[in-house]
């Protein structure tokens, strides 16, 4: 049994879960649907030279946190795939609360980890910051400052906490754990930019277009005074029409919005790489691999358009 399956089984055996069908059913489904970054605590343990088995409670906690965040995110987005549709809004929100507290309990009950209280505090802080960031997000940022404030609150904390808590369970010293947390924060921004690119280029128009949201490429096209700005703003109201969406997406390419996002990705990749070089890790390879996976799509894109990839773009 892999470490992820072991972590889910440990959750299923928890006293809270045994008497609560909804949470048990959600965890059973999680056996085949791993959350993004579930493996980050393991990578942190590997990086600091600790046995990966140490990370099991951290994996369980991060999984609970992710499940809770998805429930709330789907409610806020009115996502047509959301569990609230069959559970009901109230039960979905309550289930999120239960998963959140279960994650914290798992950490506090990990008697083998001397930093379990600090780990639980970190998970709690992450959920708090993410909740704040989600609230900022639904207010639909229309400025660069507001966009980054929302991203740094709603996306970065999760990845930061996954690495930080993993480092604590790997007996990392305080400085290294903090550096891994900072690495996770930067990685979270990278993930959000990728997410925004993906959503913006989707066809048919996805919820960000349809609900008038401003993910990074769209925000760029609305802010900078490029020649097709007015046309873009006009098209935004018509994107249910595939032709209008295509034209709007073409404007995103031509005005430099996609290039801007790529430059932001490259800058953060460089920042995270630099941070990694400064860390005293037993094995930096797991984190180097994460970064490489994050930048690989950009290398691919540059190859496709016949450009040279240079990390000094800033």
């Amino acid at each position: 049994m892999g470490l992820y399956e072991e972590s889910i089984q440990s959750l299923l055996r928890h006293s809270t879960v045994k008497n609560w069908n909804a949470i048990g059913n959600a965890l059973e489904r999680a056996l085949t649907r791993q959350p993004v970054a579930w493996h980050f605590p393991i990578k942190a343990c590997e990086a600091v030279g600790a046995p990966v088995e140490n990370a099991l409670p951290a994996v369980a906690a991060i999984t609970c946190a992710h499940m809770a965040l998805i429930l709330i995110d789907d409610l806020l987005d009115e996502d047509p795939r959301g569990a609230y549709l069959h559970l009901g809004v109230g039960r979905a929100a309550n289930l999120a609360l239960g998963l959140n507290t279960l994650g914290i309990s798992i950490l506090l009950e990990a008697k083998d980890c001397k930093e379990r209280v600090r780990a639980a505090a970190a998970l709690n802080e992450m959920m708090q910051r993410t909740a704040y960031g989600q609230d900022l997000d639904v207010q639909n940022a229309q400025t660069e400052e507001a966009y980054w404030a929302a991203t740094r609150s709603k996306s970065s904390p999760y990845f930061a906490a996954a690495l930080y808590i993993g480092a604590l369970f790997g007996d990392a010293n305080s400085d290294t754990a903090s550096q891994l947390k900072r690495f996770g924060e930067i990685f979270g921004e990278i993930m959000q930019i990728h997410d925004d690119l993906n959503d913006t280029l989707a066809s048919p128009a996805n919820v960000d277009w349809l609900k008038g949201r401003s993910p990074l490429p769209i925000l760029f096209a609305q802010i900078v005074p490029h020649p097709e700005r007015e046309r873009f703003i006009q098209l935004r109201t018509q994107v249910e029409d595939p032709k209008a969406l295509k034209e709007a997406q073409s404007i995103l390419v031509g005005c430099g919005a996609i290039s801007y996002c790529i430059n932001e990705l490259i800058s953060r990749h460089k920042q995270a790489s630099s941070l990694l070089e400064d860390m005293r890790l037993s094995d930096p390879q797991p984190l180097m691999q994460l970064l490489e996976e994050a930048i690989a799509p950009i290398r691919h894109l540059f190859t496709e358009v016949g450009a040279d990839f240079k990390e000094e773009n800033n």
Partner: protein, 51 residues
């Protein structure tokens, strides 16, 4: 990291983009939507999706 306005001005400035590695980013801006969409699947990182 550059502000959006600064990036935009630099990207399309003949002086800047000939002298710097903005050339690659300018090539992306001059690519067709079809070329960009062809690599979209590799950019499929749904932050809150399952892996």
């Amino acid at each position: 990291m550059l502000s959006m306005q600064t990036f935009y001005s630099s990207l399309f400035s003949p002086k800047v983009n000939q002298a710097s590695s903005f050339r690659a980013l300018l090539q992306v801006a001059r690519a067709s939507l079809k070329e960009i969409l062809a690599v979209r699947s590799t950019l499929a990182w749904d932050t809150w999706g399952e892996s």
